[in-house]
């Protein structure tokens, strides 16, 4: 494992039923940087976050977070490791029966001994950062999808984790919300020295803040490096993805028998 890598993924093979998702995927996520994970839909970008978080186990290969082999950890050690991570889910995944305040306070209540006054202070600061301090007393059902994700982000950073994984954080955001979130991800990374992984289809916005890019296609890592090198790459696969061309080495169609065979 290289000294600057916070996450190291080595020769990972992963299937869902009979469908191969990764066939020997190898990648590393540098410590203290923003890493963008990009690729066509259905290539397993969210799956990669779940492998890193230990919610899924690879069939073979090794996923290491800060030197710890995630798939080999005992259940209690895995939960201890997760306290050092934050994750923003695609759906927000707020606790439906808790208010916005209690959702953000939840990690603090279960993992710290802070008194109520201090918890209130931290929660309000985190909500202020995502622009939702005014929504502190609302229930998740009273928020739009984009606002729910911003509350979820406040919850993900409540414990000041060492690494945050963002799963499609920019979906459903208006241009102002998108801009604020982009600068927030950047600021969090710089101010707290976090390692950030951003899965997103908003390619240009994500690349504008990323220090490192991992592109997944055809069951493996198709590109790994800086956004500048990616933009300059003459690899047809990378170019197809960057320019959104339907034809090229990246399959647009889900694997299937030929159309002639299916129609005959």
């Amino acid at each position: 494992m290289t000294a600057e890598a916070f996450v190291e993924i080595q020769d990972v093979v992963f299937r869902r039923d009979q469908r191969v998702i990764y066939d020997g995927l190898t990648a590393s996520v540098p410590r203290g940087k923003i890493t963008a994970i990009v690729g066509p839909s259905g290539t397993g970008k969210t799956t990669l976050l779940r492998l890193i978080g230990g919610q899924l186990k690879p069939e073979s290969g090794d996923v290491r977070v800060d030197g710890l082999s995630v798939q080999s950890l005992k259940r209690s050690a895995l939960f201890d490791l997760r306290k050092r991570m934050g994750m923003l889910f695609q759906s927000g995944a707020l606790f439906a029966e808790l208010s916005v305040f209690e959702n953000v306070a939840f990690p603090l209540r279960v993992h710290t001994d802070l008194d109520d006054d201090l918890i209130r202070l931290v929660v309000l600061m985190k909500l202020e950062a995502v622009g939702l301090r005014g929504a502190v007393d609302l229930m998740p059902s009273e928020l739009s999808g984009g606002m729910q994700r911003r509350v979820a982000l406040a919850r993900a950073i409540a414990l000041d984790p060492e690494m945050i994984m963002y799963d499609e954080p920019f979906v459903g955001q208006d241009p102002i919300g998108l801009g604020v979130l982009l600068s927030l991800v950047k600021q969090l990374n710089q101010a707290l020295g976090l390692t950030s992984l951003v899965v997103s289809h908003d390619l240009q916005e994500t690349l504008s803040i990323a220090d490192h890019v991992i592109m997944i296609a055809n069951n493996r890592v198709a590109f790994q490096g800086s956004p500048e090198i990616m933009q300059a790459s003459d690899d047809p696969l990378v170019q197809q993805f960057l320019h959104g061309s339907p034809d090229g080495p990246v399959r647009f169609h889900f694997p299937a028998p030929s159309l002639e065979d299916a129609l005959s």
Binding site: R75, F79, F95
Partner: protein
């Protein structure tokens, strides 16, 4: 023929695998690392949800079943001139069989299905995954309090069902049909044995509570996180739990009262 045998084998292996997974989930929920104070509070909350909120259906059902027993028992016993034994018949029917069994069936329909749907919806909306990533074990935080709440609530609900049923029997037998009040209650008191009848009924209730709640939380935790998956799991909870209760009731009755 070979396909048929292979199908049976596959189905058996799948059932065994389900049973193994359900056992693992239950063991991890019960014996995992926990914060006793927090989890006790969560369990109390769940006792309110699955127990207290089931009280109305248990009381109304117990009352009507007791009344029906009183009516049917009176009709049959008067043929033999033994209507003074009505209290004994009502009490023994309720403590040994109807109390534990009907309460467990009602509990599966009212609370079991709700537990499955609630946990399933938490899974479908990624709330369980979110708990995991916050470093909180959902088996300890979500499954264990609901399991213990079911195990504690059902035997108490069963005792309430039996008590209300006896009152229902007395209402019909004594107040409406004219059975002597002294005969009704003294026969009941003399014939119902605490260890043979009441205690065995409680044991049945505890066994049913473990099985019904276990099925409910497992079906919720293990379901396919889609709307159809939640609907199927909820149905499975009621069907499996009801069949398990009826099957186990025969087995427990045979052991307790059948002198096997």
């Amino acid at each position: 023929m070979m396909n048929w045998i292979a199908g049976i084998g596959r189905s058996t292996l799948s059932q065994l695998s389900d049973l193994g997974r359900a056992t693992l989930i239950l063991m991890q929920a019960i014996f995992g690392r926990s914060n006793v104070g927090v989890h006790w509070r969560l369990t109390i909350d769940q006792i309110h949800v699955v127990g207290v909120l089931s009280l109305s259906i248990i009381i109304v059902s117990g009352l009507f079943i007791g009344m029906v027993l009183g009516l049917q028992g009176y009709t049959i016993l008067t043929d033999y001139g033994s209507e003074q034994a009505l209290g004994q018949m009502v009490a023994l029917s309720l403590t040994r069989e109807l109390g534990p069994v009907v309460t467990a069936l009602l509990f599966a329909g009212r609370a079991g299905s709700a537990l499955t749907a609630e946990i399933g919806l938490m899974k479908a909306t990624e709330q369980l995954a979110s708990l995991e990533m916050i470093g909180v074990d959902p088996l300890r935080r979500v499954v264990a309090p609901r399991f213990w709440a079911g195990v504690i609530s059902l035997p108490i609900l069963s005792l309430i069902f039996v008590s209300v049923g006896c009152l229902g029997g007395a209402l019909v037998g004594v107040s409406w049909l004219g059975v002597d009040s002294g005969s009704f209650w003294s026969n009941m008191q003399a014939s119902v044995d605490f260890s043979d009848d009441v205690f065995n009924g409680i044991i049945k209730s505890v066994v049913f509570a473990v099985v019904v709640t276990w099925i409910a939380v497992y079906q919720g935790y293990d379901l396919v996180p889609t709307s159809e998956g939640i609907a199927r799991a909820t149905t499975k909870t009621v069907v499996y739990a009801s069949l398990a209760v009826l099957g186990l009731d025969f087995f427990l009755t045979a052991v307790m009262f059948g002198e096997i």
